[in-house]
């Protein structure tokens, strides 16, 4: 395996082959969908125009918490080209409540969540009315003419304040800001020891480290703002939406509106990114549906970027309190985690479960005996949070990787050495963790040793020492992050045990067309991941047909009638396996037909490179020839249906657990607080790889997002609850020039939970990189007495931390 260091001007080319000659799996193919996606000559939802279509615009609350005392729509109703203005009250008989599919505890508190607020608004930007007009401009103009009177109510914004006595209530009717309290305790679960005892022992004769970390609120910032078109004409109502979850959306729309599921068709056409931000059933989707049905006209609602940033769900936003116990020689003996998780004003589709997903990852790659996790889900008057790339796992990984560095600092040891002392050795897999998961496979030693080599770890440590020695204004720090995550969401029985409302299987169908072309129908709908290319490679390999002959269909509930959609790095490890299983069924069906046509016993039919032949002879037919013969159906075996098409639904037995070692070197300008990433090396082990280019792309994008959490991004509200970072002027996303050249490599430890040996890569970079960067910055200034800097580590925060710190040497001499 070779390392890839990209440099300006590098041209990515198709590699002629991957592993064995002619094989499709492992081949670095350029993505077949990119031409249309990059040029925009495709069916983005906002490109869809239907005859007679109306345009909608939302009227949104400027207040974070207020009672609606009156709404006067008359001026808007009378404006040019306006067809209707509807308030929450107008639609209240039909709008129901938006769904939360994850009641994490039986007594979880959840306010009703109307698509349009009726009496009370509980975050700034919440929609209170909608305008339908003949043009988008007229709708927007008229929205400003809707006169809403509010009576302001007290707001609660801060997570820690929200759980104090006497704090204002985000929803006064609930009587509390606490939605749920969820606990995992290894002693109670029988997966380990009692953590309080471990901490008590460490206080007597060991090391106890206590820290509080703040996971700031992030905005998913997908490239394509959300857009929905609903056509109510005809027998079935059709919704096009920029969503990650057309199948789940269809089920939920039926439940919310009472429209029979069979009368709803949902299409996710090409979708421009999501990062979890489009894993939602939104007020905008439900409103568009209700208005279109009421007016009997197709309607479109496309949000502005600012609306997207204000009201599309946010991510992270937790306060993490951790207590780590260890022996004097640096062996971790227990970890206690106490989380406050900000739900925002409502529970979205999986809002309440996001922190719970993290519960299983705080122990990470380490094998310590005692663990307790408790989480309090809290309401505030802000946009609701929900899944965002990694969803619970980045928060957990950040916390444990920061704690391992703190332990190393306490011991005065190299952070890699401390990790190695505590991690699961490769010969110990499969390994059941203290959180109760069974890690299928991994080799932390191999990934780490490769990363250290690529990084020139020793060389950079020497340079770091020299810079410290000469008091260089630019200090160097090295950050380590050895992460794992759970991918392939998810075994349905596990989801059931966590009270999640659905399963975790995935469906696929393969249709052998008479002309030899192959249609692959997948329930895993892409929004930028490259499914069309990867699935084509899998099918081309499995069926021995040309890559170009494979077409992948997805995202339309009328075409792909069954599916669980795309999130949680599940597509390849679950959806890809369904494709494999369907392909294998096609071959088995073809074998029966081939045996009949070739006048041989099915047991004597061999399948190689797309050809079914009689063993030991030159008699044979290609799969594509059999497809034509089956289409004609002139000569089928008795009792065999004339079809070799196949369906499969795959429910994984276990998650998959990719891992990796990320090393980051940062230069910190102590005069200004500016941070520059000098070198970033990551060696990821995602199991077997279908397309290395796609993996590389996922890693790069993930790194950018994780680095951005460490250094740049933060959703900030003023004390009234108004989002002050509602444009990209204030919400900072890094671009290519702000990021280093990533040095990436892979080790390959195949997953033992699925036949492709794949693990998943969609979230790896995001999960691993944030602690690598933060650890690196702190490593650069720790000798100056800096112990922590809140994310994002802005230059001002870094500079001020240095100003306020007491240098370590001085402290020791006092």
């Amino acid at each position: 395996m070779t390392a890839v260091e990209d440099r300006p001007g590098d041209v990515i080319q198709d590699s002629p082959s991957g592993g064995a000659a002619g094989r499709e799996l492992g081949r670095a193919r350029r993505r077949k969908e990119d031409g249309r996606l990059i040029t925009g000559r495709t069916k983005w939802t906002d490109n869809i125009v239907l005859p007679g279509m109306l345009h909608l615009a939302m009227v949104r609350s400027p207040y974070a918490h207020a009672r609606i005392t009156s709404i006067d729509t008359s001026a808007a109703q009378g404006a040019p080209n306006v067809v209707a203005v509807l308030t929450g009250r107008d639609l209240d008989d039909e709008q129901g409540g938006l769904p939360n599919a994850w009641p994490v505890t039986p007594d979880q508190k959840a306010p009703r969540h109307p698509a349009l607020a009726v009496d009370e608004v509980t975050f700034a930007g919440e929609a209170v009315a909608v305008v339908a007009a003949r043009t988008a401009a007229a709708a927007r103009d008229a929205a400003e003419l809707v006169d809403v009177e509010y009576e302001e109510l007290p707001v609660v914004l801060d997570l820690e304040e929200a759980v104090t006595d006497g704090a204002p209530l985000a929803h006064p009717s609930l009587g509390t800001n606490v939605s749920a309290h969820w606990v995992f305790d290894s002693a109670e679960a029988g997966t380990g020891d009692d953590v309080e005892q471990a901490i008590a022992r460490a206080r007597e004769d060991g090391i106890v480290i206590e820290r509080r970390f703040r996971q700031q609120r992030l905005i998913p910032a997908f490239m394509e703002p959300r857009s929905t078109v609903v056509d109510p004409t005809g027998e079935q109502l059709t919704m096009w939406s920029a969503t990650q979850i057309p199948h789940i959306l269809r089920v939920m729309l039926a439940m919310v509106t009472g429209i029979p599921e069979s009368k709803i068709r949902v299409i996710a056409p090409d979708v421009g990114g999501g990062f979890g931000g489009k894993l939602q059933v939104t007020p905008e989707e439900v409103t568009t549906l209700l208005v279109a049905r009421r007016l009997r006209k197709p309607c479109k609602l496309t949000e502005t970027r600012t609306e997207s940033m204000m009201v599309a769900h946010h991510g992270r936003d937790q306060v993490q309190r951790l207590t780590l116990a260890a022996t004097k020689d640096g062996r971790v003996t227990g970890l206690k985690v106490d989380l406050l998780a900000d739900m925002g004003a409502y529970l979205g589709l999986v809002t309440s479960g996001v922190p719970i997903l993290g519960a299983f990852m705080f122990n990470a790659i380490y094998k310590f005996p005692a663990y307790r996790f408790e989480c309090t889900n809290v309401f505030t008057n802000k946009a609701w949070t929900d899944a965002y790339r990694g969803a619970g796992r980045p928060e957990a990984t950040f916390a444990i990787e920061r704690m391992m560095d703190e332990l190393a600092a306490e011991l005065g040891e190299d952070p890699l050495a401390v990790r190695e002392r505590n991690w699961i050795r490769h010969e110990e897999f499969p390994f059941t963790t203290v959180a109760g998961l069974e890690y299928d496979s991994g080799n932390y030693e191999a990934a780490t040793s490769r990363a250290v080599e690529l990084f020139d770890y020793e060389g950079l440590r020497r340079e770091q020492a020299e810079r410290r020695e000469r008091h260089d204004p630019v200090q160097l720090g090295i950050g380590v992050s050895t992460f794992t995550e759970m991918c392939g969401l998810a075994p349905s029985r596990v989801l059931g045990s966590l009270s999640y409302g659905a399963g975790g299987w995935e469906a696929a169908s393969i249709r052998m067309l008479p002309t030899g072309k192959v249609e692959v129908v997948t329930g895993s709908s892409a929004h930028g991941q490259g499914h069309e290319t990867a699935w084509s490679q899998i099918v081309a390999e499995r069926l021995g047909v040309p890559f170009e002959d494979v077409e992948v269909l997805h995202g339309d509930t009328q075409v792909a009638h069954k599916g669980m959609d795309t999130y949680g790095s599940r597509s390849l490890a679950v959806g890809g396996i369904a494709v494999v299983q369907a392909a294998d069924k096609v071959v088995e069906k073809a074998r029966t037909v081939a045996a009949h046509l070739l006048e041989a016993d099915p047991a004597d039919i061999e399948f190689t490179d797309g050809r079914l032949s009689v063993a030991g002879t030159d008699k044979g037919m290609t799969l594509q020839e059999i497809a034509l013969a089956v289409f004609a159906a002139h000569n089928m075996p008795d009792g065999v249906e004339p079809s070799i098409d196949a369906d499969a639904v795959y429910d994984p037995d276990n998650f998959s657990f990719p891992h990796g070692t990320h090393l980051c070197a940062t230069e910190v300008d102590t005069e200004t607080g500016a941070v520059r990433i000098r070198r970033y090396v990551c060696v990821d082990d995602v199991g077997e790889v279908v397309n290395p280019l796609i993996v590389e792309g996922q890693v790069h994008g993930g790194l950018a997002q994780g680095i951005a959490q460490a250094l740049y991004e933060e959703a900030i509200h003023d004390d009234q609850g108004t989002l002050t970072t509602a444009t990209f002027v204030d919400y900072l996303l890094p671009s290519a020039v702000d990021l280093p050249h990533f040095v990436t490599d892979r080790t390959t430890t195949p997953s033992s939970t699925n036949p492709l040996g794949v693990k998943g890569v969609g979230e790896a970079g995001t999960i691993a990189s944030t602690p690598a960067v933060v650890n690196a910055v702190l490593d650069a200034v720790r000798h100056l007495g800096v112990e922590d800097i809140q994310m994002p580590m802005t230059p001002q925060r870094v500079w001020r931390a240095i100003q306020e710190a007491v240098p370590v040497a001085q402290e020791e001499s006092r």
């Binding site: 401009a137 927007r140 970027r305 600012t306 740049y712 020039v737 500079w799």
Partner: protein, 288 residues
């Protein structure tokens, strides 16, 4: 988002443009001039402004280009940032302006945004105000009935987003005196490449044999207008171009500044940055 409706004029000469402005002003209509659109269009789309008339200068050929005029170079107001930063005359005679322009946003913005538009918009976080001030640029303004006037940069910027331009006037060109052979540096401090400057320091230095002969320094985003650090300029004269000497000379750079506070930086941190960046800018400009 969609702007409110407005009328649109697309003149082809300065005279037509000024006439359109005058006509609007005489009828008390709210009018905005559209240059490169890099500030105005976002403002319109966010509905922070709702002019009744937009006068688009993109078809006025005479406003574009750079020419040599003896002791100054003259830059047409509609010359794009990309044209300015690549122009041989600018690079030869006003290196500070070329270097500063290179730091503006990203290539897309630099191909659309214009030098004159940037100055007329007068955003104190905009990078080009400080070099214009430091280099004593002269701004040539056309008004109704063929009237023109010239205003020095230090008189042109009056407040946040505010200049001496009247509503019926148009900035047509900028005369920048030549500083041939001067060293220059623009120290821009921001968090990501496309973000506005938190603080910026523009320095042009004439030095001879390691001694500073003259210096010109302008500060970005340290007050509601760009700030000229005249006391520091004087303190630098005759100093050796060493870290120590320059450190001492720039110590008072924040005198007379009133830095803003925002999520990226409070006023104290901005003052601190201005000191560090001024030292670095002068050192770099002096070739030290």
């Amino acid at each position: 988002m969609i702007p409110t409706a407005f009328e649109y004029a697309s003149p082809t000469t300065v005279e037509e443009a000024v006439a359109a402005l005058a006509e609007a002003v005489s009828h008390h209509r709210d009018v905005k001039v559209l240059a490169g659109g890099q500030s105005l269009l976002p403002v319109l789309r966010l509905r922070l402004a709702a002019p009744e008339l937009v006068v688009d200068l993109s078809r006025v050929e005479g406003l574009r280009g750079v020419r040599d005029d003896g002791d100054a170079i003259v830059i047409g107001a509609m010359t794009t940032h990309d044209e300015v930063m690549r122009d041989p005359l600018v690079n030869e005679h006003d290196l500070l302006l070329a270097l500063t322009t290179r730091t503006v946003a990203d290539p897309q913005v630099r191909h659309r945004g214009t030098f004159g538009g940037s100055l007329a918009h007068a955003d104190p976080a905009g990078d080009l105000l400080a070099p214009a001030l430091a280099l004593d640029a002269q701004l040539v303004i056309a008004g109704p009935s063929g009237r023109t006037r010239t205003v020095a940069a230090h008189d042109f910027f009056t407040d946040l987003f505010t200049t001496t331009l009247d509503e019926d006037e148009l900035l047509v060109e900028v005369r920048v005196p030549k500083y041939t052979g001067w060293g220059a540096s623009y120290q821009k401090f921001n968090r990501v490449a496309q973000a506005w400057s938190i603080v910026g320091v523009a320095a042009a230095v004439k030095s001879d044999g390691g001694t500073i002969g003259e210096a010109r320094i302008g500060l970005t985003n340290m007050a509601s207008t760009p700030v000229r650090a005249r006391a520091v300029e004087q303190a630098l004269v005759g100093q050796p171009a060493t870290d120590e000497a320059i450190r001492a000379a720039v110590a008072d750079v924040t005198a007379g500044t009133q830095p803003p506070a925002d999520a990226n930086a409070d006023a104290d941190y901005r003052r601190h940055l201005a000191g560090v960046l001024t030292r670095r800018a002068v050192l770099a400009a002096a070739g030290a």
